[in-house]
């Protein structure tokens, strides 16, 4: 399903400043807020942390996928942040995170939209080549294009 591009170039941050989970979620949430995807950044972050406190979203391989289905979200979007030095995330494998994806889905609408996006994203991220590509890109539009496929899951469910 083309057309629904979840990661637009203005939602990409190629050099995150944060070095811990809290800072990284703040930085990515701000991107979503500035891109008019959220009504309220504070509420959204609270919902992200509610999920984060259940179990870490640092899934290993230097990847974290924090996510929230929140009343503060206006439209489904994914913010992408990269940190070459790495972010402390309390990951499953104990390693720092280099690639972080913050998934935002409105509370209204498809029941499992965020899970669909998560599944599609996971299927891409398992490939080492794909992760390497994301580590090496220099251009925000390139990231947006590389991640264009993941919106399909959002409409399926």
């Amino acid at each position: 399903m083309e057309g629904l591009r979840l990661v637009t170039p203005d939602l990409v941050h190629l050099d995150m400043r944060a070095d811990d989970r809290k800072g990284a979620i703040e930085e990515l949430s701000r991107l979503l807020g500035e891109a008019h995807c959220l009504t309220d950044t504070v509420t959204f972050m609270r919902d992200v942390w509610a999920r984060e406190n259940l179990s870490t979203t640092g899934i290993g391989f230097g990847v974290a996928i924090p996510h929230a289905k929140s009343t503060a979200v206006l439209r489904p979007a994914v913010a992408f942040g990269r940190s070459v030095p790495g972010i402390e995330w309390d990951s499953l494998d104990g390693q720092p995170v280099h690639l972080a994806f913050l998934i935002a889905v409105p509370a209204e609408g498809a029941e499992n939209a965020h899970l669909g996006i998560l599944a599609a994203l996971s299927r891409k991220l398992v490939h080492a080549d794909f992760r390497r590509q994301l580590m090496e890109v220099r251009d925000k539009a390139e990231v947006s294009a590389a991640l264009s496929g993941i919106g399909a899951g959002a409409n399926d469910v």
Binding site: S55, T57, A119, L121, R123
Partner: protein
């Protein structure tokens, strides 16, 4: 090319389930084998393995950190691993699975029949699936009701006309209550299959109206589809503010869909369908011998054609529907014709033992039991192994049985039961000739198969 199957599942059911699935697909592609991966994540089960997939698979990879149902893989070699291992080292798991000795599933015959049934159900197109869902919910009610009615005949065929007697009560249970529910349940569950829960209320009510207006099972089928699609459309289209959302499933959808379906049934559909049903009934009752034999031939051949598949169920549903209109001949023909395929095959294994291997001879015994119980699916394993000889043979036998049953004027008031319902006095009209019709078809089927089948090398 070898085929593998796999299941992935992780405790939180999000990322790793899909990463493991993707890693396995990728590794299988590199190893040039085909794989189908079922993911059991928090979205639910996706890409679910069918009985057919499992039967064809060389081995199973279970990359799971949670409990997943594994009984369905009975007899298959299984490679177990954690989700993490699958993500990191999918190639090794694929290799390990390929080295397992492939083995045929160790299933007994009856289980095989069951598997085949569920596989077929998964394959039929939407229209039939909805109809079959309705029919499958209706059948237990019809069977219970039909046999209860048949039991009342133990006291004499008209004993139920004496109020207060046990026969009369049995007739109330079977005839008024159970048969009264038949069409509503058919319609309700057709609608349920289409629209899920919202379909049930308008479907049941529409089916009841079909019953009340005399539109019978044909009207019930129409009401079911109508209710299903109306409820689904309303459910998809109507959007409400959050405060009123609770009213949607309990008030708005049921009321609107019931009004739409109900008014259409009463003012538009009921009368013409009743006319069709009356016409059909009159034609069936007034049919001359020749036409009734032709009807028996066709119904019989249909019963054997796909052994429990859509064509078979169409003939069966037609006959069951007519029970509600007090037409009992087609029911007799259909049951007889549904019994001869497994019976004929069972007889063939006894008549020509040299043409069947040991496993088939064992299967023949089971087929005999399924045959006397009117479970036509008992013929499937034979037909699957040798369709071009078996299917024409059983169709000829069943068609002749159906025609004979009609020609003898045999009637059957219960919709199921096989040989056991024949034991109930008065349930079957012209019992002796009816048994003869079944015997003739069985012998013809067995002879044709014994003649056509080559000896085993």
């Amino acid at each position: 090319m070898k085929k593998l199957i796999a299941v992935t599942s992780c405790p939180t059911g999000i990322a790793h389930t899909y990463m493991a699935a993707e890693a396995l697909v990728e590794a299988a592609r590199k190893a040039d084998v085909s794989i189908k991966v079922e993911t059991r994540g928090s979205i639910g089960v996706e890409n679910e393995l069918t009985a057919g997939d499992i039967a064809e698979a060389h081995a199973v990879i279970l990359a799971t950190d949670t409990q997943v149902p594994a009984e369905r893989f009975a007899g298959k070699p299984v490679v177990r691993a954690s989700v993490g291992e699958a993500i990191k080292d999918a190639g090794r798991l694929i290799e390990q699975a390929l080295q397992e000795k492939g083995s045929a599933p160790k299933m007994d015959f009856v289980q095989q029949v069951q598997e085949e049934k569920s596989r077929r159900r998964a394959e039929v197109p939407g229209f039939y699936k909805h109809l079959m869902t309705g029919v499958s919910y209706m059948i237990p009610i019809v069977v219970a009701g039909g046999i209860t009615i048949a039991l009342s005949f133990v006291f004499g065929i008209y004993a139920f006309k004496q109020p207060g007697t046990l026969a009369a009560q049995l007739m109330t249970i079977g005839g008024s209550a159970a048969f009264g529910l038949m069409v509503p349940v058919l319609a309700g569950f057709i609608a349920f299959s289409i629209a899920d829960r919202p379909g049930l209320a308008p479907g049941l009510i529409g089916g009841m109206l079909a019953s009340l207006t005399g539109a019978g099972f044909l009207g019930g089928i129409i009401a079911g589809f109508l209710a299903g699609y109306v409820a689904k459309a309303l459910n998809d289209r109507i959007q409400l503010p959050a405060t009123l959302r609770g009213l949607k499933p309990v008030l708005i959808i049921p009321l609107l869909s019931t009004l739409i379906v109900g008014l259409l049934m009463v003012y538009v559909i009921g009368v013409p369908v009743k006319d069709i049903m009356d016409g059909l009934k009159n034609w069936l009752v007034g049919m001359n011998k020749g036409s009734s034999i032709v009807l028996g031939l066709i119904l019989g051949a249909m019963m054997a054609f796909d052994m429990g598949g859509p064509v078979n169920k169409t003939a069966y549903t037609f006959a069951v529907g007519l029970l509600g209109s007090n037409v009992f001949g087609p029911m007799a023909a259909v049951m007889a014709a549904g019994m001869t395929p497994p019976l004929g095959l069972a007889l063939a294994t006894a008549l020509a033992p040299k043409k069947f291997d040991v496993a088939e001879k064992e299967a023949g015994k089971a087929a005999a039991v399924l045959g006397i119980s009117f479970i036509t699916e008992g013929a499937i394993p034979f037909a699957a192994a040798d369709p071009f000889r078996v299917i024409p043979s059983i169709m000829v036998g069943s068609a002749i049985t159906g025609a004979l049953s009609m020609a003898f004027g045999a009637t059957l008031r219960a919709p199921h039961g096989g040989i056991f319902v024949m034991a109930i006095p008065n349930a079957v009209g012209h019992l002796g000739l009816y048994a003869l019709a079944i015997a003739v078809g069985t012998v013809i089927t067995a002879s044709l198969i014994s003649f056509l089948k080559p000896g085993i090398r």
